[in-house]
Amino acid sequence: MRSPVLKRALLSAAFVVVLVLIIVGSRRSADADDPSPPAGDPLVEPITGEVVMPEPGAETGPLNPFQAPAHDSRDVPVEALSPDEQAYVAAGVDVDGWSDIHAGFASATAQAAAEAAAQAAAHELGIDGLGDVGVVP
């Protein structure tokens, strides 16, 4: 009767042989299914439906904000809108009174800039408390 040690060694060797055969077999099948196209063929991949990405070179580029957009047949004329929608559009393009608003912001920012410059100058000169120093209430 063979010893248990010899029996275990034979089983291990058989397992290794079977494992090697499986690996070699899988590599051969992978080589057979290699999808790489033959050299020289164009790289064309068949798709379904329409191409959703533009062709290279067909990009429109950045839009010029100072140029009216090109007419689009899908545009809806203002006259075709409801009265409420027309009123909304009219309010959006009404610039009456904007100059007063712009002047207000310009004045406020100029005042804030002057105050900041004054505070910077006072801090630079070491007279930060100039507004209240010496004031006897």
Binding site: A118, L125, L130, G134, V135, V136
Partner: protein
Amino acid sequence: MSPRFLFAVALSMIGCGASQDDAPRITIGGVELVAPTDWQASDLGGTVRQWTPPDNGRKESLTVIVGPTFLGTSEHALDRVRVAQGVLHDEHMVASTPLVTRAGLVGTWFDVTFAPDSAPGRLYHRSHVVVVAGDHLVHVLYTALDPEPSRAVLRGVVNSLQQGG
């Protein structure tokens, strides 16, 4: 004659009339001056000193501030003082006059009105004299609700200014 020269001469004459040569001098931040007579002093810390009269119906005060070393030219520093007047609430620049003190220190006299936050609703008057003493600016501020017209106390202190050794 230029207004600057006339102003300097007038300031010097006032200083001579005060005869402050024998008055006790104090030193603030390396600058010597004669404190206002009979006014009460309070030390605001650092290089800031303030005086007020005992009977202060005019709400007067005189403050001396010796500033840190300034950057750039003295002309630039004096111009920065003019810009700094913008921190005063409701500030109105009444006058700005160059001056030369009795000791030859060059500076500018600013007259402004403003409404301080610590006294809301009241319009105060301030005469802000700034002179160049070496690489420091010396500020002498006379502030009052009802200012004394001649600014005699301010003129006396300004004419007593001397750069310490």
